[in-house]
């Protein structure tokens, strides 16, 4: 083998907030609305996947060369909780060995109700094991608290499972839990959705994500809608639901800090300080809207490091074969099979900053873009007239600091953001 040059390809801009995302593309059963890449967990090569992922962790770790600290780790999917505890444990061990994880890092695992264990004892043990691995935040895909709707969505759990798993997570010591909620499921009214939201709020999670159901091509729902078996909730009802949920959550002490994300305020701030910021905002997810770096690891995972946006190959065989055949010491991160690889231009950086930033309660500040107010509007001169029209319509607030969406503006946020790409 020919001598390869020493590894010069290491990160050079230090001290940036950085996250790690690990993707687990396995599910017990694919949901009817899901268009994501995932495989049936049953009979899947989870062991081989674990081995490949560890090698990817080593490869990518070498790139950082212990010169950068990690602020958050997120184990997402698919369903990470279908992995064996021993597999996750090996992976987390590799993560800690190859990356410098801050002591107070947010470490989240997605765990779907009903996937944790067949018996309470198993569930309890699994949750304990996650705690031992250092996982300090749990994200549960609840989606609904109505069993008929859960069935329609193709979920494998019931509302009773959610209540039980949530209680056990608390017992295991999880004091930072997110619950996902989906509204505008075909047939669902605003009143139904509010009942769901109330049931979720009653559990008292630190964080709630609310998503309006989108019919994605290639999903069973899309087919069903095509055949007229289900009818999409109309826009008016959908937006009514969204705004009702927003105000219910605010009333219940949650900060609406991103289009679809809510975090519980500190008890002393509830009902007092309208500007208060919740201590439970997701550090990891906030990184996506702050344009922080994140290293994506695993099949089809996306990453954004030092201005480069990449996506790993979605071909499971290619992924497993590559890491079976290569030793991390011999490869560069750019050798890892990818489906996308794009070096952001200055303008890419700027426009992404604006549209991701606008998702946040704070909106985007001129200072974050590295431009003055005047420079900013010179770059986006073509969007200014439209932006001002949005502002007159009460959809966008433009001030000396920057711009941010109003709650009404969120409804048509795409058309506002489109002025800045």
């Amino acid at each position: 083998m020919t001598e390869r040059p020493p590894k010069a390809e290491t990160v050079n801009d230090l001290a940036l907030k950085t996250g790690l995302y690990l993707h687990f593309p396995f599910c017990v059963k694919k949901c009817n609305y899901c268009a994501f890449l995932s495989f049936d967990a049953e009979g899947s090569p989870r062991k081989e996947y674990t081995e490949a992922m560890i090698k990817e962790i080593e490869t990518r770790g070498l790139f950082f060369n212990h010169e950068r600290e990690i602020d958050s780790v997120y184990l997402g999917g698919g369903t990470p909780s279908v992995m064996d505890v021993s597999q996750l444990s090996l992976i987390m061990k590799a993560v800690r060995k190859n990356f410098d994880i801050k002591s107070d890092a947010e470490i989240t695992i997605e765990a779907n109700p009903g996937t944790l264990g067949k018996t309470d004892r198993v569930t309890r043990t699994k949750l304990q094991a996650y705690r031992f691995m250092g996982v300090n935040r749990l994200s549960m895909g609840v989606q609904s608290m109505n069993n008929d709707r859960l069935h329609l969505l193709g979920r494998i759990h019931t509302a009773e499972d959610v209540i039980r798993d949530f209680r056990m997570a608390r017992e295991a010591g999880f004091d930072n839990i997110n619950l996902d909620l989906i509204f505008s499921v075909p047939g669902e009214t605003t009143e139904d959705a509010l009942k769901d939201a109330e049931a979720i709020i009653a559990l008292g999670p630190e964080h709630i994500s609310c998503y309006s159901l989108q019919l994605e091509e290639g999903t069973p729902f899309y087919e069903m809608a095509d055949q007229g078996l289900i009818t999409e909730v109309d826009d008016e009802e959908d937006r009514r639901t969204y705004h009702e949920i927003c105000s219910l959550l605010k009333k219940s002490g949650y900060e609406h800090y991103e289009i679809s994300n809510f975090a519980r305020l500190a008890d002393e701030d509830i009902g007092k300080d309208p500007d208060a910021v919740s201590p439970f905002r997701s550090i990891h997810n906030s990184g996506y809207w702050d344009m922080s770096d994140y290293m994506g690891i695993g099949l089809g995972a996306s990453g954004f490091i030092s201005r480069i946006r990449y996506r790993n190959t979605p071909d499971l065989n290619e992924y497993l074969t590559f890491f079976r055949e290569h030793d991390p010491a011999d490869i560069y991160i750019s050798d890892i099979p990818s489906a996308e690889y794009h070096i952001n231009s200055e303008f890419d950086m700027l426009s992404e900053k604006v549209f991701t930033g606008l998702r946040r309660r704070e909106g985007i500040k001129y200072s974050e873009t590295g431009l003055t107010e005047e420079e900013f509007w010179r770059v986006f001169s073509y969007g200014r007239k439209e932006a001002e029209r949005f502002s007159e319509q009460g959809l966008l607030i433009i001030d000396k600091e920057g711009l941010r969406l109003t709650e009404k503006g969120i409804d048509i946020s795409n058309s506002i953001m489109a002025e800045f790409v």
């Binding site: 998503y211 309006s212 826009d235 996306s302 048509i412 795409n414 489109a418 790409v421």
Partner: protein, 602 residues
């Protein structure tokens, strides 16, 4: 024996897809001009658009050499003719350059309206017609029926019509022998005064306008000063030659021959189809008969789309005009669309071809407004105005009456579709003159229809109602008084001039409603309600509302979504660029052409 005995000047006439171009290809191949392997499919149709649509618009002429069974070599000048009703005049001039015509009839289909139209044109020119039956390689060929139709409908003896397959080459030799026998050789006096018919011309950036001509009398060579007898302009000949195809220079062209002439002519409008060329020093007494200046029948506005430069559109239109004497344009200013051009065309197909060429050859993004015909507006003070732009219609109180162009439309169809065609024509204000059974199953319907009703989507409607079996031929007949009004469209209470149309009064309500419904589908939802109204003068006659949109948001935007989301936003922005802004309302550019394609089953 004269050189004239060994020349045959002929055209091939056929209905659109009865195989004319394929036959031309086969002849070129057969006479050894082009090697089979070099044959581009359908050699004579050389414009992309023509090839795609399977129609011939610009003419191509080819000189073929054929060694006949009698041992002699013959020069066969194949003069191609355009295959569409919009180009009737050009067809007639091409035919005038011939001494005979090969009539191709699809043995699986029989005789069609356009075939008939062209046959009549050929008969008008006293041409000898040789019918041939094509597509004989197909199982569905019915040569006896086709023969009977030719005899019954056209009145030609088809008993000896060669049976061929242009596709496989079957029967081509027999056809050529028959052609030499049936079609007469040209006559003319090579020593007489020059009389040459222009039957086509096109602009070449090196040689200037290249004129395709048939010499009737006299001769012409390089250095001669020629005169266009109808336009009176003189030019020095820089080159003459034969089209073999392409341009191959020769010493001279003389009576009976077909070839080309160049003379540093700057635009085709100076060498008009149908004009007669003579020598300035020794002119003929009278031009050949039949010259006619091409008349625009259909007009529309062409405007630069958002982001397209006015100058670019102007340059392109000028270039197209250089090559197309039938196309004309002048500057126009629309409140809605800004600066643009009012363009005149022979017909709807001609318009489509030009707008498509703007997009394809010049890569331009233009907005085409609704087509309009030319109305004669008789004012109370006796003046008569030609109005083709609805926005220019004078105040109705000053108008005595309006006249609209009426065409004579001949529709040929299998008898089972007669009922649905009759209801179509009736809905289009057609007036049936008579109906005749050409054979037991084939009917020809003769109608008088306002041209205005034909130019929108009549072809499409006819085709869809007859599963493509009916065919149409039309020509201008006369102007006729009609009760017409200007129908205006208002978006968010603002009148959009580019959407105004002139319609019959009794149909205004239905049309207004139709346009509003159509616009409702085309105009995207805004953040506010957009009323769409149709009005005659101050009176609102129809209304629709585009509801405000409530939702345009991506709920999830995490690590893997950012790239996808960005592409989506870029697409959204690009889509918006293709829109026109009218006050606060955004309208997609296609609205201007799509709006009158009213798919209401009429």
């Amino acid at each position: 024996m004269s050189y004239l005995d060994n020349i045959r000047n002929f055209s091939i006439i056929a209905h659109i897809d009865h195989g004319k171009s394929t036959l031309a290809d086969r002849l070129i191949e057969k006479t050894g001009l082009v090697e089979a392997r070099d044959m581009k499919e359908q050699y004579l149709d050389n414009m992309d658009i023509e090839r795609e649509r399977g129609i011939t618009i610009k003419l191509q002429t080819t000189r073929l050499k054929y060694k006949a069974a009698d041992g002699q070599e013959y020069i066969l000048n194949l003069i191609d003719t355009p295959g569409h009703v919009d180009f009737n005049y050009e067809v007639s001039r091409s035919l005038a350059a011939c001494d005979g015509a090969v009539l191709v009839v699809d043995a699986t289909q029989g005789v069609e309206a356009q075939t008939l139209g062209n046959v009549y044109l050929a008969l008008d020119e006293d041409l000898e017609i040789l019918p041939v039956l094509n597509k004989m390689d197909l199982d569905s060929a019915r040569p006896d029926d086709a023969r009977a139709e030719i005899e019954d409908i056209i009145g030609l003896d088809a008993s000896e019509a060669p049976e061929i397959s242009a596709k496989t080459g079957m029967g081509i030799d027999e056809m050529l022998e028959k052609l030499i026998e049936v079609i007469p050789h040209p006559e003319g006096d090579p020593d007489g005064k020059l009389k040459a018919l222009i039957f086509d011309s096109y602009y070449d950036s090196y040689k200037g306008v290249i004129i395709y001509t048939r010499i009737f009398d006299g001769r012409v060579r390089r250095g001669d000063i020629i005169r266009m007898m109808n336009t009176g302009k003189n030019y020095e000949v820089t080159e003459v030659g034969y089209c073999i195809p392409g341009t191959v220079p020769a010493d001279e062209l003389k009576a009976g021959e077909v070839g080309y002439i160049c003379g540093s002519i700057k635009q085709v409008a100076d060498a008009r189809v149908g004009d007669t060329i003579t020598l300035a020093s020794n002119p003929a007494e009278a031009p050949l008969k039949g010259y006619k200046k091409a008349q625009s029948m259909v007009y529309c506005g062409i405007f630069p789309a958002e982001g397209e430069k006015y100058e670019n559109v102007k340059d392109a239109l000028e270039k197209l005009q250089v090559n197309d004497a039938a196309f004309n344009f002048e500057p126009e200013n629309s409140a809605a669309l800004g600066y643009g051009f009012r363009c005149g065309f022979l017909g709807l197909l001609h318009m489509d071809v030009i707008t498509e060429r703007l997009a394809r050859e010049f890569d331009l993004d233009v907005i085409t407004t609704l087509p309009s015909v030319v109305y004669k507006v008789v004012m109370k003070d006796g003046r008569v105005l030609d109005i083709q732009n609805p926005s220019n219609l004078p105040d109705p109180t000053l108008i005595a009456h309006i006249e609209e162009p009426i065409v004579k439309a001949d529709i040929m169809t299998p008898n089972e579709y007669v009922g649905s065609i009759m209801s179509l024509c009736q809905n289009r204000r057609g007036n049936m003159i008579h109906m005749e059974y050409l054979t037991k199953t084939r009917v020809q319907l003769h109608y008088e229809i306002p041209l205005n009703e034909v130019i929108y989507d009549f072809f499409d409607a006819l085709k869809s109602r007859t599963r493509g079996y009916a065919s149409l031929d039309y020509e201008f007949l006369r102007y006729q008084t009609a009760k017409l009004v200007k129908l205006d469209i208002l978006l968010n209470r603002e009148q959009i001039d580019a959407l105004s149309t002139i319609v019959p009064e009794e149909e205004a309500m239905a049309k207004g409603r139709g346009i509003c419904e159509k616009l409702k589908d085309i105009i995207p939802r805004h953040q506010f309600e957009v009323p769409i109204q149709a009005a005659i003068g101050q009176k609102i006659i129809a209304r629709e509302t585009v509801r405000a949109y409530r939702k345009d948001v991506l709920a999830k935007c995490y690590g893997g979504d950012i790239t996808r989301k960005k592409k989506l936003l870029e697409k959204q922005k690009a889509g918006k660029k293709r829109m026109r802004q009218f006050g606060t309302v955004t309208v997609p550019q296609e609205a201007f052409t799509e709006v009158l394609k009213l798919d209401d089953g009429r």
